[in-house]
Symmetry: C2
Amino acid sequence: MSPRTADDKMSGESSTTADRARAAAGDRVIDAVLTASRLLVAVSARSLNEVEDSLTLPQFRALVVLASRGPLRLTHLAEHLAVNPSTAMRMAERLASAGMIDRSPNPENRRESIATLTEAGREVVEQVTTRRRDEITAIVERMPADHLDRLVEALESFSAAGGEPSAGYDPIPLGWQ
Amino acid sequence: MSPRTADDKMSGESSTTADRARAAAGDRVIDAVLTASRLLVAVSARSLNEVEDSLTLPQFRALVVLASRGPLRLTHLAEHLAVNPSTAMRMAERLASAGMIDRSPNPENRRESIATLTEAGREVVEQVTTRRRDEITAIVERMPADHLDRLVEALESFSAAGGEPSAGYDPIPLGWQ
DNA sequence: CACTTTGTTTGCATAATGCAAATCATGCCC
DNA sequence: GGGCATGATTTGCATTATGCAAACAAAGTG
């Protein structure tokens, strides 16, 4: 928002140049990550469709969250998916009627109900994950080996700088809306 | 698709180990890129909301495509967004009634109608882009400088290996959904 | 028991999506 | 020139995803 401040007027051209340099770096990075993201998205979508084309991507994300975090209250599921509780609720209904999850009230606390992955749900997640991992592996195999470590290192550094908690095996960005 | 071929049976354990190594590499990469993607998605969504919270992310993606490719036929817009023509059509309607784009029939060829960014649309894209670039720049500034080049290099290598056409300034993956 | 807190569910409204069928404007071929 | 294949847009239909706000329900508190 404010690449040009009062300071700029003092330092003149050099500051402007530095700004431009950083901006260019930002553009390059954003381009690179965006492209890589697209690739990953494409891979994920393809993997999902090959295994189960009746599930939508948001639904699959929900399954993945349940697979990695274990049974969750609807509220927490909603939080992990970064959606409104009502959205999570209705998604849960659909997933339940598709046999992918179970939704039973917690006996301890009858006001909350817990979503659990069914065996079918677990299998879908596993198959899609395997499929996806295979595709990624195939891509990675085509990369120069020495780029691999750098890639991971650089990406982690980037994420750390952005304050994003490292994502064990969480969602799939797909949510990009 | 075929990490295990007939050859595997000949080389025995070593091949299994290699497979595991590659798979692990794949997992690390996917984790890293996924995390970075999430960060980028978050940044994009935030930037968009700060500038214009009445636009949805898909709509904004459409504007970005128009900004980078220039006026497009609806069919082509749909292709660039990787959605069905009917989806693009209705999105175009909404964007038009929001004053972000113009939709006029091509005088040359009246069967096609062309979507053009309006001044308002261009401004939104520019503001959001600036905002986003600033945020990315801020993150990049916190990275060790020597990681930057590697990051770009490694990511490009990854995308190239996956056969993803380098994305000048295209969409935002958000579509993961 | 009245009041608050917390989690779930419903109502209401809008967007995004895909598929298939209906139009519409061209271009081309007898 | 009339009829047909083609390509592009538009409509109809159905489903999902979303958010917000209000209604509910189960605990917990004073």
